[in-house]
């Protein structure tokens, strides 16, 4: 039997696809389902637009953070110094 193709998806799934889309991890078919959902769901439209804005804003800001390894070694150094001070 051919599986019935599911076009209507619940909001929860739509939001999940939307989140994935922000990281380019959603498939083509998922995006179609999402866009179809957005046609009739105002709440998800709002979430999607906010979510896309957030991605854009972060890209634009060029914000950076330290990688974990570096942070760990910094922590070690710092704790050494901290101990020295306490003694």
């Amino acid at each position: 039997m051919i599986k019935k193709i599911k076009v209507f998806i619940p909001c929860k799934e739509a939001n999940h696809v939307c989140d994935k889309t922000q990281y380019r991890e959603s498939s083509f078919w998922e995006k179609i389902k999402l866009n179809f959902h957005l046609l009739y769901c105002k709440a998800c439209r709002k979430y999607s637009s906010n979510n896309a804005n957030l991605t854009q804003t972060i890209d634009k800001s060029n914000v950076k953070c330290m990688d974990k390894k570096c942070k760990e070694s910094m922590k070690q150094e710092f704790e050494k110094a901290l101990k020295e001070i306490e003694h």
Partner: protein, 184 residues
């Protein structure tokens, strides 16, 4: 002004990313930026007794970092054999040790460089991240700012992929809410 307490134990967790972001936009070299942040923490530790609680820890650390960045440029400038300009902040020894507090930036008084939009935006992003629970902030940083693969993050934090997406969803909702007013 309220009195702020100082507790170096959490400095790296709380402020290292913020300070690093501040530095990297000014020196644009990874290693140099990391060294400057490291130096800042160590210098702060040494002059902890000068912290009077008139500003937040973050502001105080940034004021030290600013000095470090200036010193860094001064050093590479003199290496190139260029004229070195020295301006002493106070010549009398009486108020020695006071300079850190006195140089704390007034949060309402932005200098020209601080008004640069990107700086402010970066700052706003970190302020919003501060409001998130630590786990959400960590996952969001790894995924969105560092751009790590889902699998890598899951392995590192020992969570499932669906777990990760739930955290991401909550973090994104909160971040969008927080940044919406001023930045969208």
């Amino acid at each position: 002004m309220s009195n702020h307490l100082i507790d170096p134990n959490n400095w790296i967790d709380l402020y290292s990313d913020y300070l690093y972001n501040y530095t990297i936009s000014r020196v644009s070299d990874k290693t140099v930026a990391q060294d400057l942040v490291q130096d800042t923490f160590l210098a702060a530790l040494k002059s902890m007794k000068n912290f009077k609680g008139e500003s937040s820890e973050r502001t105080w650390l940034i004021s030290i970092l600013k000095r470090k960045i200036i010193d860094y440029y001064r050093k590479i400038n003199s290496n190139k054999g260029k004229a070195e300009v020295r301006i002493d902040y106070n010549s009398d020894s009486e108020s020695e040790g006071d300079w850190l507090e006195e140089r704390v930036a007034d949060p309402y008084d932005k200098t020209a460089e601080d008004t640069m939009q990107n700086d402010e935006l970066g700052e706003a992003i970190y302020k919003c991240l501060d409001k998130l629970p630590k786990k959400q902030a960590d996952v969001f940083k790894m995924k969105t700012i560092q751009g790590l693969e889902t699998e890598v993050i899951c392995n590192e934090l020992n969570i499932t992929a669906s777990n990760l997406w739930v955290i991401i969803h909550r973090a994104r909702t909160a971040m969008a809410e927080c940044l919406k007013e001023n930045w969208f």
